[in-house]
């Protein structure tokens, strides 16, 4: 397994999954990279996330 993936998995507390399901952990890491890479993150710093913080709403 890629040592970076292993280190990230341990940092996430996935010791048991690493021991018992290493293929699933490796597949998940690859999937995460693919997914994140598919998003065209706005270059405009003013582009806000959705949903927004709305003080007092929904409480």
């Amino acid at each position: 397994m890629d040592p970076i993936v292993e280190a990230l998995a341990r940092a996430a507390g996935l010791h048991k999954a690493l021991a018992d399901f290493p293929d699933d952990v490796a597949a998940a890491a690859a999937q995460a990279l693919d997914n994140a890479g598919a998003v065209k993150v706005p270059t405009d710093p003013a582009a806000e996330p959705w949903p927004p913080m709305r003080a007092g709403v929904g409480l």
């Binding site: 996430a12 996935l14 048991k16 890491a29 997914n35 598919a38 998003v39 949903p51």
Partner: protein
């Protein structure tokens, strides 16, 4: 009355009022059908027959006394097994929660009981509404009544299979990336993901806070309206609930589509994710039918499906990881492999990935809103293929993401999927309509016009 199991909720309600049928008689017929067919279909995880019969007796007495609570009074409802029903298991179809008993009703269940509906039992789902179809779980996967060798869609699998097979007239499902509309599409029924915030999520096991919706699966658009009338409404204890007064979702069903402008999102199924030819043909036929009914149908362009899908996955995986991380750390072996593989990616996504996806999400919402200023309703594909075989995981993995439902989880617009024909292999193909925020009634209006003009809602699966 012959074949009461095929009565819609609306028809059953009229039969109750006319004293042609009682809730006890309807439930008795449905329990007989469940007994005969569910061993093949596996729609149920937990059938609550005794409590349902007790509720049916009460409803029968109330209706006989003229105390009719509304059109769902005495109507049995199936419930996806991530929605809490007090005293019944909420397992999420998972070993993780196999001994979990719900302490209270979810808000949608409270509302259905207030409307007089009868809670029939808990239904099969993909594990935690994400991992399936799977054979390594405590319960078998549900099967498609059109051909039990095939997938009934998911994740609200039992809801779709049971409504389709006449085990119950209506059901509740949940939809985070299309999980109400997928079973509706491949089982040949009607499923709606209402506007985000219209239906309370309280008491429903979450998958992704900003993408989760609760919605009904039914055999007709009119029944969808009845279910929305019952379950919609502001819930001050659900932070995502919208303070809207939306009601009477069936008020436009008879209006037809004359003068409505319908935007046909052809690029979803023509170039973004090229559909099975019979799906493409069915969608063009839907457009022709609606034009013949008086609508103006024009092509419109939205962002590409891959954009919506990528954002949906990053948000879903990130939010789901924050829910499942403790179990994934301590009990990874208690998940089925599919759920484990679909939930673990969240461990490898960064805060920047998540916020970046939410920022792009707002831009995609704006793009869809721009188009919905020029048209009243969107017409597009739901599933790009008929249902895959359950024993062919490679084919299921290939076809499952080939869909156009995630855009409306990302944006929160209301979206409905329904049958639009039968493919040459005898399995349903489908269409999807989406509309403006809190204008769910206009989406139902278009769906009802299409339903009236076509025979698909009268087709029955060759089972039982």
């Amino acid at each position: 009355m012959s074949e009461p199991h095929w009565l819609t909720a609306s028809e059953a309600s009229r039969a109750f009022a006319a004293r042609q049928l009682s809730p006890v008689e309807l439930l008795t017929a449905l329990l007989g059908r469940i007994d005969a067919l569910d061993p093949k279909l596996h729609a149920f995880i937990h059938l609550d027959a005794d409590a349902a019969m007790e509720a049916a007796r009460t409803a029968t007495k109330e209706i006989a006394a003229g105390r009719i609570r509304g059109p769902l009074h005495g109507v049995p409802v199936g419930v996806k097994d991530i929605i809490d029903v007090a005293g019944l298991p909420t397992t999420g179809h998972s070993k993780i929660l196999v001994n979990n008993i719900a302490a209270a009703d979810a808000v949608v269940i409270q509302k259905l009981r207030q409307a007089g509906a009868i809670i029939l039992g808990k239904l099969a789902t993909h594990e935690f509404a994400i991992g399936g179809p799977s054979f390594d779980l405590p319960f078998p996967p549900a099967r498609n009544p059109w051909n039990p060798d095939h997938h009934p869609g998911g994740s609200s699998s039992g809801s779709g299979a049971g409504v389709c097979a006449g085990l119950f007239p209506v059901a509740l499902g949940t939809d985070t990336g299309g999980s109400v509309r997928n079973p509706a599409s491949v089982c040949g029924i009607v499923g709606v993901k209402p506007t985000y915030g219209l239906v309370s999520r309280r008491g429903v096991f979450p998958l992704s806070y900003t993408l989760d919706h609760i919605g009904p699966l039914t055999r007709t658009v009119a029944d969808t309206a009845l279910m929305l009338d019952a379950i919609a409404g502001y819930d001050p204890d659900d932070p995502g609930s919208a303070p809207t007064q939306s009601r009477h979702f069936g008020r436009l069903l008879d209006r037809g589509v004359r003068d409505l402008r319908i935007g046909f999102v052809r690029h979803f199924h023509e170039t973004d994710t090229p559909a099975h030819p019979e799906v493409t043909a069915a969608l063009e036929d839907v457009a022709r039918v609606l034009q013949a009914e008086g609508a103006e149908v024009r092509s419109v362009t939205l962002p590409a499906l891959t954009e919506f899908a990528g954002i949906n996955r990053v948000i879903l995986c990130s939010e789901a990881w924050s829910i499942h991380a403790p179990w994934l750390r301590e009990r990874p072996g208690d998940y089925g492999q599919l759920a484990r593989r679909r939930l673990l990616p969240g461990a490898f996504m960064t805060a920047g990935d998540y916020v970046g996806a939410q920022r792009r999400r707002l831009q995609l919402i704006a793009a869809v809103e721009d188009v919905l200023r020029d048209v009243d309703v969107l017409l597009c594909a739901s599933s790009m293929d008929p249902a895959s075989r359950l024993d062919d995981p490679a084919e299921t993995s290939r076809t499952y993401p080939r869909q156009a439902r995630t855009p409306f989880n990302v944006t929160g617009h209301p979206a409905l999927a329904m049958m639009a024909g039968l493919a040459s292999n005898g399995l349903p193909v489908s269409v999807q309509f989406a509309g403006r925020y809190f204008d769910d009634a206009t989406v139902l209006r278009v769906a009802a016009a299409y339903e009236r003009a076509t025979p698909w809602h009268k087709k029955r699966p060759p089972i039982g």
